[in-house]
Point group: C2
Chain length 147, copies 2
DNA sequence: AATCAAATCAGGAATAATTCCTGAAAGGGG
DNA sequence: CCCCTTTCAGGAATTATTCCTGATTTGATT
């Protein structure tokens, strides 16, 4: 039997690995949209026919608390989820609401400015760029000339 | 875009000035919290006893579309409102959820980075700093030493 | 493999947040 | 003042999210 296993260095709360949770995480990682809980459920209910919406909500919450996914507050108030927990930023189209990942780094200048203004340091900086995506910009200009 | 400004494209849709809308705007400007629609209603229903929640929602929406106030997507999904429509940024406490205004300017570098990464320009940049406010930082450290 | 306790599940009811609808009342121009 | 439009209150309807319950699954242990 196992020899001396003095101290399990894992204070991580023992969680069961379940099919539902695993698939939710996997699917989130495989999409680059930023779905709501409802969209996540709709996408998975086909292969897990009795996946319940409550289960989706509960597991998204668990995954967020484990730092495996990210919660992104979105315009209009709904919560969306992001399968990529590494810090990154977003371009949000004001026309169609699409959210695009932007893998750029926040300038160190920002942290300095915060410290100067408030004497606080930030554990995380989130930058949202608002504008029109290519498609919506085209629509807007054609609508303009049409009026 | 035509150079001749033949017709005023947006004659600023004539809006009635109503007591309810005026008070909602005035109250929002006078507070530095970032209240939800519900909180706004609760604060004003005392002096306007038959102000309805629906009216608050409708007027907040109107004020946002007029650019007089700002909609702030907040963690947890609720929409909050900000009486200061001038671009500014926020420090959000991860402990208590408080939202503090930060009147600092986004570095021009950010717009350049966006253009380089996506070829898009942003009509607006929103920066959220996440961390612990002074109070919550104290609580956290005392809790830590107590364990 | 059989057993057991804890975690998780599905499903639905309950709650919260927001929008929509209706008829009544108030603003504003003439 | 009169007419037309906008806004109003109130409540019903819709949507988003959380909570509850008893059944099922998981991982560990025999």
């Amino acid at each position: 039997m196992p020899a001396v296993k003095s101290a399990p260095p894992e204070p991580a709360p023992r969680r069961h690995q379940t099919r539902q949770r695993a698939r939710i995480l996997e699917w989130l990682r495989g999409t680059d949209s930023h779905p709501t809980a409802l969209l996540t459920h709709e996408a998975l209910v086909r292969e897990l026919p009795n996946l319940s919406l409550g289960t989706v909500y509960r597991n998204l919450e668990v995954l967020v608390s484990e730092g495996l996914i990210d919660e992104v507050p979105s315009a209009g108030g709904g919560v969306r989820y992001d399968g990529n927990p590494k810090p990154h930023h977003h371009f949000i189209c004001e026309g169609c609401g699409a959210i695009d990942d932007l893998h750029l780094q926040a300038p160190a200048e920002l942290a300095r400015k915060l410290r100067r203004a408030r004497g606080r340091s930030a554990r995380r900086i989130r930058i949202d760029f608002y504008g029109l995506c290519e498609t919506c910009e085209l629509h807007a200009s054609t609508a303009e000339t049409a009026s």
